[in-house]
């Protein structure tokens, strides 16, 4: 069965500290991978995506993510967080082919709280 797991429902970090939000997926073949962010009372915004090539991809606002095929993971990182990064972060996958083509499958999300 296809699934996206974000094991941490909530992460609290101090401003200026580094960050890693974890994501693991279970898919029949390597899918397209995404991270989205949702600020309060707003829609989701894409931070970055991976579809092939260099396993480390850069996104907006200093975020990056690393794809690992062996580990079926796509963890999000940031070297130094700011209080404005407080939001809910979603990992998502999309099939490259087959019946699930075109559908985004989201994890449950990780709420990031940045303490000033």
């Amino acid at each position: 069965a296809q699934s996206v797991t974000q094991p941490d429902a909530r992460v609290t970090v101090s401003e200026g500290a580094s960050l890693q939000l974890r994501c693991k997926y279970s898919y029949s073949a390597t899918p397209y991978l995404f991270w989205y962010v949702q600020y309060p009372r707003q829609g989701l915004q894409m931070l970055l995506k991976y579809y092939s090539g260099d396993p480390v991809v850069q996104g907006v606002n200093g975020f990056e993510a690393e794809f690992s095929k062996s580990d079926s993971s796509f963890h999000l990182r940031k070297a130094s967080v700011h209080w404005s990064d407080s939001a809910v972060y979603f990992c998502a996958v999309s099939a490259k082919r087959g019946s699930a083509l075109g559908r985004l499958h989201f994890g449950a999300g990780t709420q990031l709280i940045v303490i000033p």
Partner: protein
């Protein structure tokens, strides 16, 4: 460029009542998605269109939910007889034409539905 717009932003109704949600995608975007996001969960795809055609409605509870996009632009999602379990935020997203499934989906702010 205007983003995806949705209305209403909030809706509160009693069980058994009907409600409609309206979405205006980004101009020129041919693919439109409706997601249901229960509280503290990730969005779950209900239905998506390419132009006016339904591509996938396998996750839409067909006995009470319906969705249309008659001219391939705006879309309406309707719940015929709401249940408490329908309490969630309903998100609309759109994607530009001719792009692969790794392309970004742009989300609206959502409609927060509460069924009492």
């Amino acid at each position: 460029e205007a983003g995806v717009t949705q209305s209403p932003r909030y809706a509160v109704l009693q069980e058994g009542q009907a409600v409609s949600f309206w979405c205006d995608p980004i101009s020129g975007h041919d693919t439109l998605y409706w997601y249901q996001q229960p509280r503290d969960q990730g969005p779950q795809l209900l239905v998506y269109f390419r132009d006016e055609a339904v591509i996938d409605n396998s996750q839409l509870p067909s006995d009470r939910f319906s969705a249309v996009r008659p001219k391939g632009t705006n879309s309406t999602l309707k719940i015929q007889s709401a249940k408490q379990g329908d309490t969630a935020t309903y998100l609309c997203a759109s994607r530009g034409p001719g792009l692969g499934n790794y392309a970004e989906q742009f989300f609206g702010p959502g409609t927060r539905l509460t069924v009492l």
